[in-house]
């Protein structure tokens, strides 16, 4: 017996309010804390996108009260060009880090990975608690930059050098704003490193009796693969952020080339490389988009299987494809830099793996579609959002084929085409995964059911609205509309303004539809119908414990696993499904997987 791990996991149930709800060691509470953080972050991020869309759709639109947020950024409630960029940067940073990474990976992963592996808790609960609070601190630091004198940074979430590294001379927010941004990101990296350590050790070391790796549900596999990526990707972003801070506060010039003139003043920096930031950033940045999407793939597969009442065509191939995505994601990062001045041979070298990475993605999609074909899918809100995820992933993925080729990318780079591409394939798809996971697991997390009618209404409004917002982006991009413009004054852009108006209206309407979700979430939390232990007739371990799970997840009796995760519609079985903990012995072709 390796008593260390057991010692770490067996902490008693807390009694005081602070240990129970704030500085909790319980992975389930930490998961909910991450979910709450993501919820606050997504509301902030969405409101920012409304402000941006209003400014784009209706030029010089006065947004009542905006001057209260920033006197200089929005004099007379009309946002300045710089303030538009500042809001855009914060929208991107908040969404990518504090929503798309925290919700599907850290929130659901924390809550369900230990339960699905049959563990009492993660092996290092203190690290787990720190993981959340360090991430939370990062969020507070980022929010604080709204309230410093010249506001948050305007450099975009990618924070390209040299403008990010030279200080306030480059514009409002490029001094203090960038330093706060970089500190926030460094904190976030530390938090995710702690989290990844726990996820990997939980998956490898804490599984219950009988739970072989191939018996883990697809969602657990997705979190496991994601945590391996998180371990190395965030470990590279952290020193990059620290070097950026050094450029600001210690007078170094890692990312600033010699003899740079900005706003008519010659900068004292010399010797650095602007391209270096892009290399370091995208070595993290491309794995990051898979960190955002792979948990969604796992969650969606888990939901679909439960509602199709049959396993995927191949459990193994799906897992291997997610693993291939993870490995390849490190080799393709240069496709973000096709037009950054890299050697053209490098562009070619990064183009090949970029086209190759579409193969595992396509395999995953084909497995989903092939498995769905002819199945009697149970239609509920969770399965609808899972279908929505598949739809978004395909729609957004198809445009990836175009962008992967340097010759086409030269034209489409930095246009709305790219914005449409990544919003569909990575952002909205992941959001649909989060929604699906929420409707699916809410009963287990809170002990109450969500309202299905409101859920379906929420789905259809969101699904249609999302396409109305993001499909026209592709058209704008092909028409030559460059991203990050805050006004459209050129001859070739003026005819596109009606399209922008349409997108703005769609964005406001889709955003309003999210109020239904918020209402459903809060109302169901307190007034929803009590949830049974296994509302969806699922087979994996989270459904074999009580609702909501007790402090050590399984009560007095730790589970023993006898079956593969998805034993649905097995011939000769006593019911439609066989739970992993059921000792019923069945000879099934699937069991050999």
């Amino acid at each position: 017996m390796h008593d260390m791990s057991a010692h770490a996991a067996q902490h008693g149930a807390p009694t005081s309010f602070i240990r129970k709800h704030i500085f909790s060691l319980d992975h389930k509470v930490i998961g909910k804390q991450y979910y709450a953080l993501a919820l606050v972050a997504v509301i902030v991020g969405m409101v920012l996108s409304w402000l941006m869309r209003l400014h784009l759709g209706f030029a010089n639109f006065a947004i009542p009260g905006l001057h209260l947020l920033s006197k200089n950024g929005a004099p007379g409630d009309i946002m300045t060009p710089e303030y538009y960029l500042q809001l855009m940067t914060m929208h991107g940073t908040i969404m990518v880090f504090f929503v798309l990474t925290t919700a599907p990976f850290a929130a659901f992963g924390n809550f369900f990975l230990p339960i699905q592996t049959g563990a009492e808790d993660m092996p290092f609960p203190h690290f787990n608690m720190m993981s959340f609070w360090v991430t939370f601190t990062g969020f507070i630091i980022l929010m604080a930059s709204f309230f410093v004198s010249d506001g948050p940074t305007l450099g975009g979430w990618t924070q390209y050098a040299p403008l990010s590294a030279v200080g306030a001379v480059a514009g409002p927010g490029q001094g203090t704003g960038v330093v706060l941004w970089a500190f926030s990101i460094a904190f976030f990296c530390v938090g995710q490193l702690f989290g990844s350590l726990n996820f990997i050790t939980t998956t490898l070391d804490m599984r219950c009796k009988g739970m072989s790796l191939m018996r883990l549900p697809l969602s657990a596999w997705a979190w496991f693969i994601t945590s391996i990526m998180g371990l190395t990707a965030f470990a590279v972003l952290m020193p990059a952020a620290i070097l950026l801070i050094l450029d600001h506060v210690a007078g170094t010039s890692f990312f600033v080339a010699s003899n740079l003139v900005i706003n008519d003043s010659l900068l004292p920096h010399s010797g650095g490389s602007t391209l270096l930031w892009q290399h370091l950033f995208w070595f993290f940045g491309h794995p990051e988009v898979y960190i955002a999407i792979i948990p969604g793939m796992g969650i969606v597969s888990h939901i679909l299987i439960t509602n199709m009442r049959r396993p995927m065509l191949s459990h193994r191939v799906l897992i291997y494809s997610m693993g291939a995505l993870a490995v390849l994601s490190y080799m393709v990062y240069g496709h973000h830099m096709f037009v950054s001045g890299m050697n053209p041979i490098s562009s070619l070298a990064f183009s090949f793996p970029t086209l190759i990475i579409t193969i595992p993605s396509t395999i995953i999609v084909l497995i989903w579609l092939g498995s769905l074909y002819g199945s009697k899918l149970r239609i509920n809100t969770a399965s609808l959002f899972a279908l929505g995820f598949v739809s978004m992933f395909i729609s957004g993925g198809v445009s990836g084929f175009f962008l992967a080729q340097p010759s086409i990318d030269i034209m489409l780079h930095a246009t709305y085409f790219v914005v449409g591409h990544f919003h569909l394939v990575m952002a909205v798809a992941a959001i649909f995964g989060i929604f699906g996971g929420t409707y699916f697991w809410f009963p287990k997390m809170t002990g109450r059911m969500m309202n299905e009618s409101l859920g379906k209404l929420h789905f259809w409004l969101t699904f249609v609205g999302t396409y109305c917002i993001f499909m026209p982006f592709h058209y704008l991009g092909i028409a030559g509309n460059v991203r990050r413009y805050q006004a459209f004054v050129d001859d070739y852009l003026i005819p596109l303004i009606p399209v922008h108006k349409f997108i703005t209206v769609a964005a406001l309407a889709t955003g309003a539809a999210q109020l239904i979700f918020i209402y459903n979430l809060i109302h169901s939390r307190f007034k929803g119908a009590p949830a049974p232990d296994n509302p969806w007739q699922g087979t994996s371990l989270e459904w074999s414990t009580a609702t909501p799970p007790p402090h050590n997840n399984f009560g007095d009796k730790m589970p023993v696993v006898y079956h593969d995760p998805y034993q649905y519609s097995v011939e000769g079985a006593s019911s439609d499904f066989i739970m992993q903990t059921s000792s019923e012995s069945v000879h099934s072709a699937d069991e050999e997987k």
Partner: protein
């Protein structure tokens, strides 16, 4: 036969969680994972340094003597050996012997840090700082102090960890396994130095 039976018969009587899947206790696995992450961090820094060095036409080569760095390397390598001796003693159950070796390791680490800081002071005296130096591009000082500073931070943390783990080991709270886990970290810090020496020092020797 199905995998269920194979798994369960493979580990007869295995209690829940009592037998880690890969016979690696969670702490040791976590240390290996930390080492992977930290490798990525150091690799990021060293690649950044190489990138800048390659793109700077007349990169300065100010070092004349390898005496000091050779001495530091010798001390750090020796400390890895004493760490091994400590782990061996701990595995044999020789508590005081293990404690003695751990303290010697920590002492060697501290001597390394002192030599390193002395070298830093000499460079600062000749006008090399993080943003300026007399040899040419200011990035030389920035890269030198960042990379060696990151490593020195690891050594300092390691010395503190060694002493803390040693004391807790004597007090009975930590076991031989914990000594081994700390040893993994110490060897890793040593290994990183073996990359820092050629890349930061030997490549920048004047000739």
């Amino acid at each position: 036969m199905s995998q269920a039976d194979l798994t369960m018969h493979g580990h007869p009587g295995a209690g829940v969680m009592s037998e880690p899947a890969f016979s690696v206790p969670a702490k040791k696995m976590a240390m290996w994972l930390f080492i992977i992450a930290d490798t990525a961090t150091f690799a990021g820094c060293l690649v950044a340094y190489g990138f800048i060095r390659n793109s700077t036409p007349d990169w300065p080569r100010p070092f004349h003597s390898i005496t000091n760095v050779a001495l530091m390397t010798f001390i750090l390598l020796t400390s890895s050996l004493t760490m091994l001796m400590g782990i061996r003693s701990a595995e044999k159950g020789e508590k005081s012997g293990a404690f003695r070796w751990i303290l010697i390791t920590a002492l060697l680490g501290a001597v390394f840090a002192v030599l390193h800081i002395r070298e830093w002071m000499e460079l600062l005296d000749t006008g090399v700082t993080i943003f300026h130096n007399p040899f040419g591009t200011p990035l030389f000082g920035a890269a030198f102090f960042s990379v060696t500073g990151l490593h020195l931070l690891h050594v300092t943390g390691g010395v503190i960890a060694l002493i803390a783990v040693g004391i807790r080991y004597m007090g009975g709270r930590y076991k031989a396994d914990d000594i081994e886990v700390t040893g993994l970290y110490w060897h890793f810090v040593d290994l990183v130095w073996m990359f820092v020496v050629p890349l930061i020092y030997l490549l920048n020797m004047s000739h």
